[in-house]
Each structure stands twice: as C-alpha cells, then as structure tokens.
Amino acid sequence: MTRVAVIGAAYTKFDEHWEKSLRDLSTEAGALALRDAKIEGSDIQALYIGNMSAGSFTGQEHLAALAVDEAGLTPIPATRCEAACASGALAFRNAYIAILSGEYDIVVAAGAEKMTDLKGTDAIATLMGAGDQEWESSIGLTFVGLYALLARAHMHRFGTTSEQLAMVSVNNHKNATLNELAQFPAEVTVEQVLKSPLIADPLRLLDCSPITDGAAALVLVSEEVARRFENPVWILGCGQASDALALDNRKSLVEMNATKVAARQAYGQAGLEPKDIDIAEVHDCFSINEILAVEDLGFCEKGKGGKFVEEGKIARDGEKPINTTGGLKAIGHPVGATGIRQIADLVMQLRGNYGKLQINGVKRGLALNIGGSGATAITTILGKEPKPTTY
C-alpha cells in the first residue's frame, strides 16, 4: 500500500465575505492550494469537497460538480462529503482513502461554507440540523444548548469552572492575533468572556465560535508523486467514528466516545501515543469542546482538561500547544471548511516555515474535527517524516 502526503495547503481569509459567493470562495482556496503545491489543474484526478448545508445556507446543492466547473476542472469526478461540522475532515479522509486504494495519485480535498447569506437566527437554526430534528430541535433546544448540557455535566462531575472555559477562548484569541486570515484576531480577557451575555447557561457569547464564510483546500498525492516535491507532509493516520446523534442516547455526557475511538485508530495507524504529538488543532466550536478534546485525545486524564487549560499547557509556548493559529473560536468556523483549515495549518507548521505563526521543532501534529455535538469525529495525524514501511 502506498503512503500519502500533502503537498499543497491553503485557506481563504475567514470572514463575513459579503462580496464573495460560495463558488468564489471554493475556487479561490483551490487555486491557492494548487499554486502552493506548484502543480497544474490538469494534474488533478478527483475532488472531494466538505460542505454541511449549502442547500439551507444558500439554496445551492450539487456543490461538488459546481466546484470543479468553476475551477475549470471538468470532467474529473467530484464528490461532496457531509458530516455536519466534520464535513471538511470527511472530505480529507475520503480523498486519502481514494489514493490508498490505488485509484488516484493526485486528489484535491477541499471544504467550503457560505453562512452569511442567511440572517443570523436562520444560520443558527441551520446549524442545529446537525442535532436530532425530531427530538432535540423540536423542543426548542439550540446548537449551543447541546454543548451547554455537556458543559454543565462536566462542571458538575469534575469541578470544571467558567474561568477555565473562558481561558480556552482567551488562548485561542491570543494565538489568532498572529494570523492574518483570522476573522477575530483580537485578544479577549477572562473578565470579558465572563461578562459576555449568557446564551445557554453556562455558555456565554465568547464561549462560542462565530458565523463565518470561508474555504480551504489541500492537495494529496501518492508516495510516488510526493517524492518529486520538496517538503511533503505525510499522513500517518486518520480515524473516524460515530455516536448517537441525540445527546440523550449517548452512554456518557462527560466524554465523546467517537473522539476516543477515532483517536485510537489514528494513534494505532501511526504507531504513536498522545505524548508523541507536538501540536494539535482541536474542534473548539464551543469552549467546553476543547476541554473534552484534550481529555478524549489522551493529552491529560479524564476530568483534568480544565486544569490542563488553566496551567497554560495549551499555550503556544506550553507543553502541548493547541489551536496555535486561533482555532474555530477566533479564526472563524465556516463549518464545511474547518476540518480542511485545521489540516492546512498543521501542514504549514510541519513544513517549518510558517512565518510568525511557526512553532519551532514540530514533527507531528494531530487534528480533531467534530460533527454536531459529537456524533462524528475524525482524527488525523500528520508527520514531517513518513511512517516506516512495514510491508
């Protein structure tokens, strides 16, 4: 079986792009990734694109064909992947498997979401499509409400505090000040987070990631092709797992089992353990989710995530830098694009020339992209060096 590398990575400015449509954004990200890879459009054999809800956000379905059409890449096959907020990593994983299968050598994995064509309340209702429509949305539960239920359970069980939740936002906003592509590159303080309005107790406005437009793209290639390029970044493992859509059908409310299973797969494939990971991009759609992530990925013990954050271990100069470029909270969260954006940031860190965003000495990075309130989790491990061949 071939090994697979990423040779191109890029994302657009994440913002409210009133002047740009979904097709403009996806074409822009694709072109940036191809230029970064130094390949031509005619080299691309297939496209996978992650998108949660173009139909609800803009009325446009059939997005994958539209994306290759706009990019002038017809007639290559184009596939849209949907797993709510994990749509991006789902596109990545399918592109990866397509190369592993031997079918293709050069594939683009992209993600795009145009959220601001709808008014805010309608965009938020669309996001709740990631939950259970018959049993959660129908009683007036909101997307932030789902995470609020998880936050309350974690606080009760482990003593996690609102201050610790706030510190997640503080860390990620601070990191975003270095990132020119971030939607909110401004620092916030714990006091500001704690004074922001409650949206769904105990979560406040500044515990929540924003509504964002944006796109991201990656070029994946087989080992044979990768050898012709400088500085490829290698895929060491990629796991995916599912859980009940509705929170009340989960076995536990203080962990995400899908994250644990997907992480176990990725660590197993890579032959690595949590301690071997230098940096991570985790899915901080709401502050509590970053605390759940550091626990469920095995960076700290279950229940100690709040402490882990409070002790500064997630800071750029900490023991396990998390969301080093701003995370969903401050870069923004165009849902279908996020999973690709996370991997693009890891690729640039692993190349070792990421300008002022660079963390020195990074050899292995992990990305965790989560769909809905945890019903889909996709964990990817990338490395500067390929994993040793065992066959």
């Binding site: 309340t121 309350r152 409650l198 409310l253």
Partner: protein, 134 residues
C-alpha cells in the same frame, strides 16, 4: 430552516410525544426512548414492543436557553434538561416551574404542555415537558 412540522410528521410521533411511549426489547428487556424499530443490542434476535414510561426521573444535566430559535421566543428564557427516566433511559425535554431551581439529580415528572406554534396560523404542537418535584 427552523422546525416546521408537517401534519404527517406531527401525527407520526404523537404517541411518543403525548404519552411518552417508547419501545422495550422482549429479548434483552432494554427500554428505549424515542422508540426504536431495531434493538441495537440484539439486532435481528431482538423483539421490540411499545412501552409506556412512568414519566418519573431525575435531571442528568440542564441548561437555560436564552437565545431561542424561531417559534420559541415567547417562552425564553426556558429550561431544557436531559432526564434519566426511572425505567433506565434518557429523554430531553423542557423544564417547567422555577427553572432557577434546576439541579443535577433533582426529581422531575412528566407533564403535557403546548410546545410550539408554527406562526400565526400554523400548527400548534403539544407534547411532554417535565416539572420539578419539590
């Protein structure tokens, strides 16, 4: 966009939404809410039948929704909790009464209430909520 229920959807779920009727697997005795066509433990060996829950339970976790979706504006802020039913499965519902007294572990019981109006001339949907037992 928001939860706009059609008549068939409303009708299909009425037993469960009005009377807290789920399913029980006669093979392994597990109970499920909402009803499941297939017992995930036993799969093909399972045998599901309707099961009416007593409507008594305790709060596992809760929140107060302050930014409501369309159609719920008049109720906000309102409480929502995941309730552990005494028979051994969970259900998510709005909490009525003094929502500032919600606590994890507190006993609750089911009540029948209006849930949502789909605009001025849309459907009015009824269903279960839970009230705090003092």
């Amino acid at each position: 966009m928001t939860y706009k229920s059609s008549v068939p959807l409303y009708w299909r779920l009425r037993k469960s939404k009005y009377n807290l009727i789920g399913t029980k697997c006669a093979n392994c005795n597990s109970v499920f809410f909402p009803p499941r066509a297939l017992c995930p433990n036993c799969r093909r060996r399972g045998k599901t039948e309707n099961f009416r829950f007593s409507g008594k339970g305790k709060i596992l976790t809760y929140t107060i929704i302050r930014a409501p979706p369309e159609g719920f504006e008049r109720d906000a802020p309102y409480g929502v909790a995941i309730v552990r039913l005494d028979e051994g499965t969970n259900v998510t519902a709005q909490i009525v009464g003094d929502i500032n007294k919600m606590e994890i572990g507190k006993r609750v019981s089911m009540v029948f209430r209006k849930i949502h109006e789909d605009g001025e001339d849309g459907l009015i949907r009824y269903g279960f909520k839970f009230q705090l037992i003092e």
